[in-house]
């Protein structure tokens, strides 16, 4: 299923997309596939799969640790695509690759897009790539038929959003706070207004990410967005249970997020 179909279906059903994030290869490649299978089986709508990078400047300590573990287990971009290929053999939900420019650039954009498409990747998101620098990468993605997910921050003004949306496809990722990834007790109230503005400026689904650490936050922002990315909160809990997805603490946490996203209003 492509990203568009996922959002269309959810919209019809009055639900929001649950988008868990994990880093590929954290702590091993096999474990990553196991965790992705769990997400797919238990109700995730899209999976955001991080490509490890040695210097993740937009990430907080939890995801930085995850990337360090993945690099330590020698996970390369080539391995990440292999992970997606294996996962997609049994699962249908879309996978979006999320990462930093240098590993993508080093691999070669054209090669990356071609092999990613062939592996079953649906979209790509690059954290340190503002629209000003996006053209060559975006052209490759467009030609290769991969969605190009773009970020919008609380400091992005309307005229920037208008330019960003020319490049964006799949969905817009709205960064809830100025800051790095990581759990937060609550999100700023004015994010709601900004989400409404962003949704008015684009036809694409708008997804909220950064800082979402509990079901209550999902409930609070339910009416203002099309989905939620949950990264650090999940990764931290996975660390706590030594990456055993069957452990009760982790499962209960995930189910709570799932219920919050899929509760019909």
């Amino acid at each position: 299923m492509a990203l568009k179909e996922v959002f269309d279906t959810l919209k019809r059903e009055g639900k929001k997309a649950l988008i868990p994030y994990i880093t590929g290869g954290d702590p091993t490649k096999e474990k990553t596939i196991e965790i992705m299978d769990f997400f797919a089986k238990e109700g995730a709508d899209i999976i955001e799969l991080g490509v490890p990078f040695s210097d993740p400047m937009a990430d907080g300590p939890v995801i930085q640790r995850a990337m360090e573990r993945a690099i330590k287990s020698k996970t390369t971009l080539f391995d990440i695509l292999e992970i997606v290929r294996k996962f997609k053999k049994q699962a249908k939900i879309p996978v979006v690759l999320m990462g930093y420019m240098n590993p993508f650039f080093s691999y070669g954009f054209e090669r990356l897009i071609y092999e990613a498409k062939e592996s079953g990747v649906d979209g790509i998101l690059c954290v340190d790539l503002p629209y000003e620098e996006a053209y060559p990468f975006w052209m490759c993605a467009k030609r290769g038929g991969l969605d190009f997910v773009c970020l919008v921050s609380p400091l992005t003004n309307r005229s920037r959003i208008a330019r960003i949306k020319r490049y964006a496809s799949g969905f817009i990722y709205f960064v809830s706070v100025t800051g790095v990834t990581g759990e937060r007790e609550s999100l700023p109230e004015d994010v709601k207004g900004m989400l409404i503005d962003t949704k008015n400026l684009t036809k694409l689904p708008v997804v909220l990410g950064f800082g979402i650490s509990k079901a209550e936050t999902i409930e609070e922002f339910f009416d203002f967005t099309d989905g939620f990315v949950i990264g650090s909160a999940l990764v931290r809990r996975l660390e706590e249970v030594s990456f055993d997805v069957e452990s009760k603490g982790f499962k209960d946490f995930f189910y709570a997020l799932e219920r919050a996203c899929h509760k019909k209003r």
Partner: protein
């Protein structure tokens, strides 16, 4: 500059979306400041009366006799705080004030840029936080104490390799979080546009003065200008007015560390390839998968995995030759200048001298200008430990 923010194929603005408005703001404030005579007057008066400019151009007679060419030293080591770094730090602190930002942050490896920022912050009454890798905090204890004395908070960075690149990551994270109230004083001609341009503007005083001084002294341009290259700000500063003078040979010296065939060096042009790192497209030391490699240098200011994008452009265009010097040669140069001229050069600047000493025959009877970018007091412990280890 071709495409906005690019030097040929290098440069750009590869940062998270959250930082883009701040980069535009910075670009605007620099443009306005350059046109504003009152800003320029203020900057120049600080440069003159606080930093102590123009710094002298010194003819090193004893060293010249030994080396067989005329060696001139641009004495940036005589700047207030002991290195050219104060030029950029003070300039950016003044810009921060123009943007009504009351807090500045910076990264530092050796501590020179940190000390310069702490000084500028103290002078202009700004809050100041300096990020420094935990390993560097240990190595540069005196500079940490200096920064704290000046009222700055030194934040040790425990992530990654606990050196300069991790300090930059941490500073970028702080900036993303506090971008509304904070200005990031990046320490060299690196990072996303407009930083390379901005830093170049502030350090250009070095080259302007040096060119004037050597013309007055020798009645002609130098044959060779040599500078060490970490991020590349001191080199850019002194190269700048000579870039169009094709007869002047320009040489940048990187950290060869324990040899470029080992993995303990920071020779980006010898062993790196083009990549995108910490906001800029440039030469980067990286593995085949684009992971950034650890670097090493005896001179902490040169211990960095990438290099200013304009240097990459000058490398590819062939206008500047980039080479390297190894630790052992660097120590020798440090001792040589100390004994011959009574000047302790920073280990960074000693790279430029080391290259010249090794290749002295090539420069016979020429006029050679070296940017002595900082003073070597900070490196005494390193040098002494090294000599002890070598049994000297």
């Amino acid at each position: 500059m071709g495409k906005k923010g690019y030097y040929g194929n290098f440069g750009g603005r590869f940062v998270p979306e959250t930082l883009m408005p701040a980069l535009y703001e910075l670009e605007e404030v620099l443009k306005a400041a350059k046109k504003d005579t009152s800003f320029k007057r203020e900057l120049h008066s600080y440069q003159r009366e606080y930093i102590g400019r123009p710094t002298p151009l010194y003819y090193a007679r004893n060293a010249s006799e030994k080396l067989g060419f005329k060696l001139y030293l641009k004495r940036e080591d005589l700047c207030h705080t002991g290195a050219h770094k104060i030029l950029n730090a003070l300039g950016q602190a003044l810009l921060a004030k123009r943007m009504n930002k009351k807090r500045i942050i910076a990264e530092t490896g050796a501590g020179q840029h940190g000390v310069a920022c702490a000084t500028a912050a103290s002078l202009l009454a700004l809050d100041c936080v300096i990020y420094m890798g935990e390993d560097d905090v240990k190595r540069q204890r005196i500079n940490v104490m200096r920064m704290e004395m000046l009222g700055a908070k030194v934040q040790p960075v425990k992530s990654g390799t606990r050196t300069l690149k991790d300090a930059i990551n941490e500073a970028l994270r702080d900036w993303v979080t506090n971008v509304r109230t904070t200005h990031y004083v990046l320490g060299t001609v690196f990072g996303p546009y407009p930083y390379p341009e901005l830093v170049k503007y502030f350090v250009s005083a070095i080259g302007r003065e040096a060119k004037r001084q050597i013309l007055k002294r020798e009645g002609r341009l130098p044959d060779v200008v040599v500078a060490c290259v970490g991020g590349g700000s001191n080199a850019m500063g002194i190269f700048l007015p000579f870039l169009k003078m094709k007869d002047v040979m320009l040489i940048g010296v990187e950290a060869g560390g324990e040899g470029i065939s080992t993995n303990k060096h920071a020779a980006r042009f010898q062993k790196g390839r083009i990549g995108i790192f910490q906001g800029s497209k440039s030469y980067v030391l990286q593995d085949e998968w684009g992971q950034i490699l650890d670097t090493y240098s005896i001179a902490p200011g040169l211990d960095y995995a990438s290099v200013g994008p304009e240097h990459s452009f000058l490398f590819e265009s062939g206008r500047v030759q980039y080479t390297y010097a190894e630790d052992e040669e660097v120590i020798e140069a440090y001792l040589f200048l100390s004994r011959e001229e009574g000047i302790l050069p920073a280990l960074e600047s000693s790279h430029a001298l080391a290259f010249l000493m090794k290749n002295r025959k090539e420069f016979k009877d020429k006029i050679v200008l070296v940017n002595l970018s900082g003073r070597g007091d900070k490196d005494l412990t390193t040098v002494l430990n090294r000599l002890k280890k070598d049994g000297a």
